[in-house]
Assembly symmetry: D2
């Protein structure tokens, strides 16, 4: 059993980006505080965890099993390139009905974003005026650190979750390879340091855990992993697993568990919100496609099952289609084969809502990474892979994409923290005495 500090006092959740996901999260949490809703979609708030034998029937809810911050103790702080209240931003995002927003209008109107660090080079389809200025990126980082310190008043702890738009794709370069080079890069305004990295650097320097909800690298670079260890800060990422990729990581392990072969997986999806507009830029799209593409390779393990998966033709399309609004729709066409190579097809059509899927995940991640910090778990939190399209992990291993292994890992980690037996599903005890 790991020693865990109790979650006393208030938890500040710091959110760069106050768009659809952020406002949907905040509105929902404020409704929860008022008892107006049920935390659907949140694993921390609703999921039970089995302890002991199946016939012991001990199934506490996760929030009652591990010492998490309470929803009532959460306060939100945001940065954005547009200067409007969370209420106005939520209305523009068109995810929640006006009837729902009006229930928490006063709470939402109180929240105004701080000026953002932003560079149109990195998100080509957006532009904004509510932005910080500074000589170089180190100065901008310093301004964020001051913001964080100002927020901290009256709080016991903070976490930061990147909920802003997808930035352009960048490979890992020299400047990302060590903390020293990274800090030099900040001072020299290095092009390959993305705004999200400036936030992550600032957060970690202030001892604040950082989670990356978008596909670009951000905290998944040696320099910031090094800093996180030095500062005893847990980090996690990247790219919230919602929509089509979530379904993919459900279906693919199932197909593979039965040793069915796969010749092709064609995925296309249409979406009409700001996220879609940003991805209409080929460079941002690339970040996303890179994040989505490797999922199947890792789950299906081509190299281990060449007869089944070596010819897999995997293609992912993302299309900006304004009629959808915040709705998102995915089609998947999967060409399978079974016994003696006979072909079969599986087709999936998912009509989902991006922010509705993402908001409770951000809540869970904020609560879990705060728990990790109080439990003294530092650096990469692989046990949170469950929430990510492109999970960060140790260099010794490959990322685990199978949603069910991720889920098992999450729950056994919680059991392990609390000194409970890990579940193996062997279950021969019910038959031994027969």
């Amino acid at each position: 059993m790991i020693s865990i500090k109790q979650p006393e006092g208030k938890l500040g959740i710091l959110l760069p980006g106050m768009g659809a996901v952020t406002t949907t999260l905040i509105a929902g949490v404020e409704m929860l505080k008022k008892g107006l809703t049920v935390p659907y979609g949140s694993v921390t708030q609703m999921q039970t965890i089995r302890l002991g034998r199946r016939d012991d029937k001990k199934y506490p809810i996760i929030k009652d099993f591990v010492p998490l911050a309470k929803v009532d103790e959460i306060e939100f702080f945001t940065w954005d390139i547009t200067d409007e209240t969370a209420y106005d931003a939520a209305k523009n995002a068109k995810v929640l009905s006006e009837a729902d927003l009006d229930k928490v209008k006063p709470e939402l109107e109180k929240i105004r974003p701080m000026k953002a660090v932003f560079d149109q080079k990195h998100v080509k389809r957006l532009s904004g005026t509510h932005v910080k200025t500074g000589e170089n990126k180190m100065e901008l980082a310093e301004q964020i650190r001051q913001d964080i310190r100002r927020c901290s008043e009256g709080l016991s702890r903070m976490v930061m979750v990147w909920c802003a738009s997808t930035e352009v794709h960048r490979e890992i370069k020299e400047v990302h390879s060590s903390l020293e080079k990274f800090e030099q890069g900040l001072r020299e305004n290095n092009e390959d340091i993305l705004p999200s990295m400036v936030y992550a650097y600032a957060a970690i320097q202030e001892g604040v855990p950082f989670v990356n909800g978008s596909p670009q690298l951000t905290v998944d670079i040696p320099a910031l992993i090094e800093l996180a260890k030095a500062k005893n800060v847990p980090i996690a990422g990247k790219d919230l697993k919602t929509g089509q990729t979530m379904i993919k990581t459900i279906i693919a392990p199932g197909i593979k568990s039965r040793m069915l072969g796969m010749k092709g997986w064609f995925s296309t999806n249409i979406l009409g919100n700001r996220d879609g507009e940003v991805l209409d830029d080929p460079e941002s799209l690339k970040s996303k496609i890179v994040s989505k593409a490797s999922v199947l390779d890792h789950i299906l393990q081509k190299e281990m099952y060449p007869q089944l998966y070596k010819d897999l033709h995997h293609r992912v399309n993302i299309n900006y289609y304004p009629p959808k609004g915040d709705d998102k729709e995915g089609w998947d066409h999967i060409d399978l084969f079974g016994w003696l190579g006979y072909p079969m097809q599986l087709k999936i059509n998912f009509l989902c809502k991006d922010s509705i899927l993402a908001a409770p995940i951000v809540l869970d991640l904020a609560l879990f990474i705060d728990l990790a910090q109080r439990a003294g778990m530092i650096g990469i939190q692989e046990w949170l892979s469950f929430y990510f399209k492109s999970p960060m992990c140790s260099e010794k291993v490959y990322p685990e994409h199978d949603l069910f292994i991720q889920h098992k890992k999450l729950k056994n980690t919680l059991r392990h923290m609390m000194g409970e037996d890990l579940i193996t599903h062997l279950g021969n005890e019910y038959y031994r005495e027969e």
Copy 2:
């Protein structure tokens, strides 16, 4: 580590029913013996199993890890109500191409079914002339036992897998409640003793493990469980998990892992083979629907998550639609809800081939239940739940329908048999030393 007898000599696989599944299985195994195909869809023949840490990279194939019978050592024996060779039966079933069948024509032509125990009362849409006659069901059981003993010549071991049509639905009654009453029922020609039960009784009496691939109760009655324990015989069932239900047990655990709510799941499927024709009879259909219906209840655990699943409207339709032939097509429409109750939809269309999905499962089950017998594991084999729509289990627990828990259970059981560490996916060892 459990002590397991080595699989020396030949294994006889006894198959009541020589229709699409049986002939597809036999043709495939004969092609495998000749090196003409790859055992796609068979977990025993193709799947690897991780041993130790992820970075140990030890991943033997299951057939190389546990002492299974080799494919080359298998011989088939069948019963059917039509007297034709396996080659002719396969041609009529129209699952495999004639080009494929011709590759193993001599092998298939050698196989002729023994006379079946059959009663049109129990499968209303079929009729047959190649049937046994006897004063009562005990006499018929005796004839099956003689068949089994005749088959055993030259074999080292046998297993029986029921691959015949779905019989009419029967509830558990007095006559099924103990071995004594059951044997009396056999002698008195009790109406509630189905032909499949006569086969199961005969097999177990002869010490032959029995697997039920269809939805009716068959071996899942106290009388035969009692007999299996008395005779040290492993048994398993029921209803091979293929097609729509397989997909259902993949999707539902994924949805639930994320605490997404569900208002409705509408499933319809169309199929055109003998199976479909049999299910066009309302009484046989009932067996099937009962078997399919409880899947979601067990996976979603309504009573544990009333806010998410108590209003679930689950409906399953099966339609006989001749244009499909042996192809089977399922549509699923799922009404989900997430954060703040906002609705989403998931739609699935599966174009599959029933016998192509079922054949490798029958092979795996035959090999695993033979393994169980050699390992001294008797009675219900819950660890084989992975293969069934309606898995048999101890009365102390509920059946486990989640495909991924079933898969974990299967693999950890194999590790346990061989004395290997069970896998928990905790995986904190890769981070501890960092």
Copy 3:
């Protein structure tokens, strides 16, 4: 050119049944009167009609071409088994948002239904208390006639459109075969006279055109056709063509125009409103299925194209599935074949809203049948087939189900009424002079 009386004064639209369709229609028309919406879905209000050559570019809107009643001159009157205002009925129907309903709340609150003629024998899933009583059906008809006369005050003309629930299936019997026998049946309370027939009888006796929007026979019986001719009244029906059948009559003529063969058409649909609940009763369902089934036969003309369509396996399922509410969802799976018999598949998924599709059709029908009356067109109005699943027609011909032929017939009838050239699409005039 036909002589047509001008539409002076107010038009009363009399609607038996004040459920989802009726209230959606009324709310929409009241919004139109206030200029709050556009008459989407209404052919009379929005569709243009080409006159003369393509390069003449004369395309008036239908309402400006033929002398129709104006939307502003419409008044509504209803009957229902529940005594509540149209506003409350609309809220219960859950088709329109409360925000929309509130825009016409005063208008809707003014409308209260008259007591209905109702018999639970004919609509088994409903029950109501706001019903007329009388010694026999002739007395009930007399009460309806009095209602109609009361409504007529201040009106210039009236039409009646049956918008109530589907009644049980009844074949044509002796009692329907002549007016004399029918009237005797009314007096003798004959079981085979449905409530909808009582309304139709009363309307026609009062000289009011009658349209049947549901699948049961109602006005499609010799007795009432005879009465309509005697009273110079136009009649039309039956079963409003919305949803899956509308799509079917779009797709099937297209497939046939290309001489593609068809082996099967499997249709299933799920719906959750009162309509669905009513159809959960097998007898009402039968009315519906009979109405839907013949559509394909008539379009594809099996007897003319046996090589293409004689083996067509057509199956229609309707499922009551409460999670859908007023939404309706259809799946169609079509097995096609082309050149040399090679197979293809077409799959259609239609997420529609029943009342949204039906309401503008009721408006069009009311306006067109009023036009027909003023134009002296009496008896069956086959040119309105465009709007029906099961169109009434002369005994000399078969019903025309092809939506595009129906559309042509409708528009050429309007051109014919106004003395314009009929359109043939020959169009060789643009090339002759070249």
Copy 4:
């Protein structure tokens, strides 16, 4: 009634491009000659045409109504960049089963292509060696003319149908604007003269009717229209209407006939044959997309119905996806709205076979354009629009895309040719005398 020469003697069908479509056509026609199949998908061979009143019941098959060439009198000639027999080309195309091909193996082996005019600049993904060489394009045209004259031996008449790959997109330029400039361009090797234009020029010069089955302009340029009129030759095009666009021109007119609005239509399709590979080149893709895009605009008439269609977001994707082979699969997602603007969705999934849909169309076009020539109809044949994605028409009018108007135009043109009454579907004659 138009005077039409009888179709005496043999008809040569000249086909540039001997790929999937051409070989599927030839194999099918040869099977027809042997009585081995039924001409599914061919309107000329199977469709009936109504003459007179509906109750006259006169419905001859088109081939028995107008004087078409008989299938037995057809001979095929091809050009291709690969020198192999039609049998080998058909085997490589993988459209027809080997069992089917073997039935006409001798006939197919006799057909070898002539050397093609080809330029990789115009079809970037292909390369070939079996190509003509010449100083300039006029010389190449001359060589084609010689080929044509050689083919003509023993034939009575010839037609040419372009069945080769899609070429790169080219706008109409100066060089296409008159015959004089075009011939100068041929001599000067002008870059904007595509190989298909060289074939078309040669054919028309030889008095051979020309049909363009691909999307690039080819014969749809002023220069060649001028030549066709001068030489009394009928021409038609362009882009055979198969697959997704065929379905689009079925659905869209149906939606519009009901005045339902449309916010978006998203089309994506996956295909794996040579056609797909060619379209993987952005320039060829552009030809195709331009051809597909305008379909909806013309059918929906945005300018006439701005309230319904002005915001339509139409997007077409084409994806090369090798697992499909010659199969082609389209998804369409359509966002509709009806009464009061309430939204609905229609989703279509079409699993089709490109060449199976195209082959009978090529047959029909060849027979009809030969008929047109014998009937003295010269220049653009708009009445054949039924077969094209992007139909050629007079400058005075817009192209007609509605499949049902096209169909009506085709059949009324045939009636007109034979002096029969045109059908208007007015049909009031069945009611007048009542």
